[in-house]
Amino acid sequence: MVSGARPTQRRVAARALLGAAVERLTGLGARRIDAFVVEDDVQARSFWDAMSPHWGLDPLDKARYVRVQP
């Protein structure tokens, strides 16, 4: 999220940034664009949920695994 601005400004700025990123990536030929969002971050989830129907939770039931390298 964009820090240092009022909530409305942050959301407008975030939408603009996301839109620019999507435009750039699709222009480069991306067929799939995704994002990982911290589940406990209420503001972030609210933002991404508000991007529906363009964005939504992955409909495929998948599990992510991570191995932190020593």
């Binding site: 999507v22 435009e23 699709t26 222009g27 991306a30 067929r31 799939r32 664009i33 995704d34 994002a35 990982f36 969002v37 911290v38 589940e39 406990d40 989830r45 991404w48 991007m51 129907p53 363009h54 964005w55 939504g56 939770l57 992955d58 409909p59 495929l60 039931d61 998948k62 599990a63 992510r64 695994y65 991570v66 191995r67 932190v68 390298q69 020593p70």
Partner: protein, 162 residues
């Protein structure tokens, strides 16, 4: 790791451009598993492009006669918070006829060692939530299920519109 007595242990090494055609045969089968058409030419073209541009790293498991038994493909990426690099383990496939012989575990260990050598801070992967066999393998190899993040995707229609 599961080893089968009397069955030779496959060797694992990093794939080179010269291996593309032999890996593509398995890559095509892998894609069929995910509902794609069986297309070795397209699979080879994709693999060749990734390797030529150093956009992916592929490890292969080989039998004593050089036959490719399995492969794993990783995509190097970045870890912004950690200010480092990371690896996405994107594709893992072992021929059905040699499964349960430790081939997948050997490939996973090649990824682990490669990521260590490359200085990657983490390796991640995704698998079907109901693929418990794969999940057991990943957990044996030191992977931990991530329940901290939600996965959002841009709808295919939105991607097409750009």
């Amino acid at each position: 790791m599961i080893e089968t007595p009397g069955v030779p242990t496959p060797s694992v090494r990093r794939a080179m451009l010269a291996d593309v055609d032999s890996v593509a045969a398995l890559f095509a089968l892998y894609r069929v598993f995910y509902g794609q058409d069986h297309d070795i030419v397209a699979a080879a073209s994709f693999l060749r492009a990734r390797l030529e541009r150093a956009e992916s790293i592929v490890y292969i498991a080989e039998a004593e006669d050089g036959a490719v038994l399995g492969f794993v493909q990783v995509y190097p990426t970045f870890a912004s918070v950690e200010l480092g690099t990371a690896w996405r383990l994107n594709d893992l496939y072992v021929l059905e006829s040699v499964r349960d012989r430790g081939v997948a575990a050997r490939l996973m260990r090649a990824v682990r060692d490669g990521a260590t050598d490359a200085g990657a801070v983490w390796v991640d992967l995704e698998t079907a939530a109901d693929n418990l066999t794969a999940q057991r393998l990943y957990e044996r190899e030191g992977y931990v299920r991530d329940d901290q993040y939600l996965h959002y995707v841009l709808s295919p229609a939105s991607v097409e519109r750009g």
